[in-house]
Amino acid sequence: MKKILIVFVFALVGLTVANAQDDKDFNYYNAPTWLWTFDYSMAFPSGDFSTFLDAPSFRGWHVEGRHFLLDNKVSIGTGFSWNGFYKDFGRKTYEVEGGAITSNMYRYLYVTSLDFSAHYYVFDNEAFVQPYIGIQFGPHYFRRQTQVGSYYIEDESWNFSVAPEIGLYIPFGENGEWGFHTNARYNYTIYDRTNFDGLTYIQLNCGFSYTY
C-alpha cells in the first residue's frame, strides 16, 4: 500500500510538471503594449522645502499610462499625481522687527503634476519581476500657504519639474495583467520663489499595475 501511494504521488507530480511544461511550450505570449499604474503616494521634503515644512506627506496618489516600444524594452507615457504636505507648528511666539506675533501656524504645500515619462526595462517582458529606470518631466502646479491664526499668505505657481526614478512591477502570476507596482522618484523643480532655490522632494509610490 505504501509503495502504491509513493508511486501515485510521483506520478501526480510528474504529470503536473509535464502539463506545466506543455502549457509553457504551447502558450503563445502576447507582449503587452500598455502599462498603467495606480499608486498611493507618499512624499518627503528635502533641501529648502524641508526648511519650509519638515513633515512627510502621507496624502497623495499617482496614476500613469505608458506605451511600450522597441520590444518592450522602453516606454513613453504620461502621468498625473497629487501630493499634499502639511504641518501644524502649534501655538508659538514669533519675533518680528519691532514686535512679535503669537499664534498657531500651519503650513501647506499642494503639488499637482502632469508628467511625461520615458522608461527603460531591465529584463525581458516575460520576467517575473520588471525593474525599470526612467525619468519624468513636466509642469507642476504648486499651491503654498502659510496660515497664522485666521490669516494666510498664499503663493500659486506653475513650475517645470524633472524627476529621475527607479521602480518595478510584479505581475500576479505568469503573464498576469494585474500586478504590484512601486517606484521612488526624486523630484526637482525650478522654483525660485520666496527663500526657495529649487524645490525638491522624494516621492514613494506603491500600488498596482495593469498591462494589456
Partner: protein
C-alpha cells in the same frame, strides 16, 4: 488577494484627499500681536494713565447689549481692570482716567504714558458656492483651505474656518444638481472680536489735547492731515478672535490674549 490589494490602494488614494488638517477649534485661530517703537526708552517712564472707558466699535450689538457692556462689572470693567493689572505687573504706576470728586488729578496732566483700549466687534455674513464631491476635497478649492481673510473689497479682514461654520443656516439648491452630487450654496456668519491697546507718549497726548480743545468738529475736519499734531504711539497690542458664542470660553481666550501680549512685551518691564 488581488482584490484586497486593489481595494487597499483605492482606499488609500481616496482617503488621501480627505480633509483632516488645519485648525479645528476657535482658539486655534486667535492671534496676538504687539508692536513697539524700538527707539523709545520705556525704562524711564513709570506713570501710566489708562482710559477707564473702552472705545467700543461694533456693527451688531443692540442698545441693551451696549449698556450691558458698560455696566458696572461688565466687559468694559473687566478689560480695563485686566489692562491695569498687566501694566502694574510690569512695574508701572497705573491710574485710571476717572478722578473721584475732590481727588488729585495731577497725574493725569503729567503722566508719562497714556493707554487707550479699543474693542471692535463685527459680524460677517458670507455666502459661497461649493461644488460637491471632488473639488472641495483635496483639490485646494476654497472650502478646503477653510480660511477667507478677505472682505468684499479684497481687504485682509475676515476669518472663516470650515469647521466653524454655522450649518444651521445652510441652503441647498438641489434642483440644480442630482442630490448625490452634494453641491450647493452655504451661508454662514461669524463674529470677530478685536481688542487693541494703544500706548502713547505723554507729551504728545497733551499737545494733541491742547490743539484739540476749543475747536469745532468742522475746524478739526478741515485741518490738513500734515498739520494735525502727531500722537507719539510707542506700543500697540492687537488681539483678534472669532467669537464662539460661549462666553466663558471666549473670556478665557481674551485673557490668554492679554497674557500673550504682555509676555511678548518684555521691554516694558521695569
Amino acid at each position: 488577494m488581488k482584490q484586497i490589494l486593489l481595494m487597499l490602494v483605492a482606499s488609500l488614494m481616496l482617503t488621501s484627499c480627505y480633509k483632516t488638517q488645519g485648525p479645528e477649534y476657535y482658539d486655534e485661530l486667535d492671534i496676538t500681536m504687539t508692536k513697539y517703537d524700538v527707539n523709545y526708552n520705556f525704562k524711564s517712564d513709570t506713570v501710566v494713565v489708562v482710559n477707564d472707558s473702552v472705545v467700543l466699535r461694533h456693527d451688531y450689538l443692540t442698545d441693551a447689549q451696549v449698556k450691558e457692556f458698560f455696566a458696572r462689572g461688565g466687559a468694559n470693567d473687566k478689560i480695563i481692570s485686566e489692562t491695569k493689572s498687566q501694566l502694574r505687573a510690569k512695574g508701572f504706576e497705573v491710574y485710571g482716567s476717572t478722578v473721584p470728586s475732590g481727588g488729585d488729578s495731577t497725574f493725569i496732566k503729567t503722566a508719562d504714558l497714556y493707554v487707550n483700549v479699543t474693542v471692535m466687534l463685527s459680524e460677517t455674513t458670507d455666502i459661497y458656492y461649493y461644488p460637491g464631491y471632488g473639488w472641495g476635497w483635496g483639490w485646494g478649492y476654497y472650502g478646503y483651505y477653510g480660511v477667507n481673510p478677505y472682505d468684499n473689497h479684497g481687504n485682509l479682514f475676515h476669518s472663516e474656518n470650515e469647521a466653524l461654520i454655522d450649518r444651521s443656516a445652510d441652503y441647498f439648491y438641489y434642483p440644480y444638481y442630482p442630490p448625490y452630487w452634494g453641491g450647493g450654496y452655504t451661508q454662514y456668519s461669524y463674529k470677530t472680536g478685536t481688542t487693541v491697546i494703544e500706548m502713547a507718549e505723554g507729551q504728545s497726548v497733551r499737545d494733541y489735547w491742547a490743539w484739540y480743545m476749543g475747536k469745532t468738529p468742522d475746524e478739526i475736519e478741515a485741518t490738513p492731515p500734515d498739520q494735525l499734531p502727531q500722537l507719539g504711539f510707542v506700543w500697540h497690542a492687537f488681539m483678534e478672535s472669532i467669537l464662539s458664542g460661549d462666553n466663558s470660553y471666549d473670556e478665557e481666550r481674551v485673557q490668554r490674549g492679554f497674557n500673550e501680549a504682555f509676555e511678548q512685551s518684555y521691554y516694558l518691564n521695569k
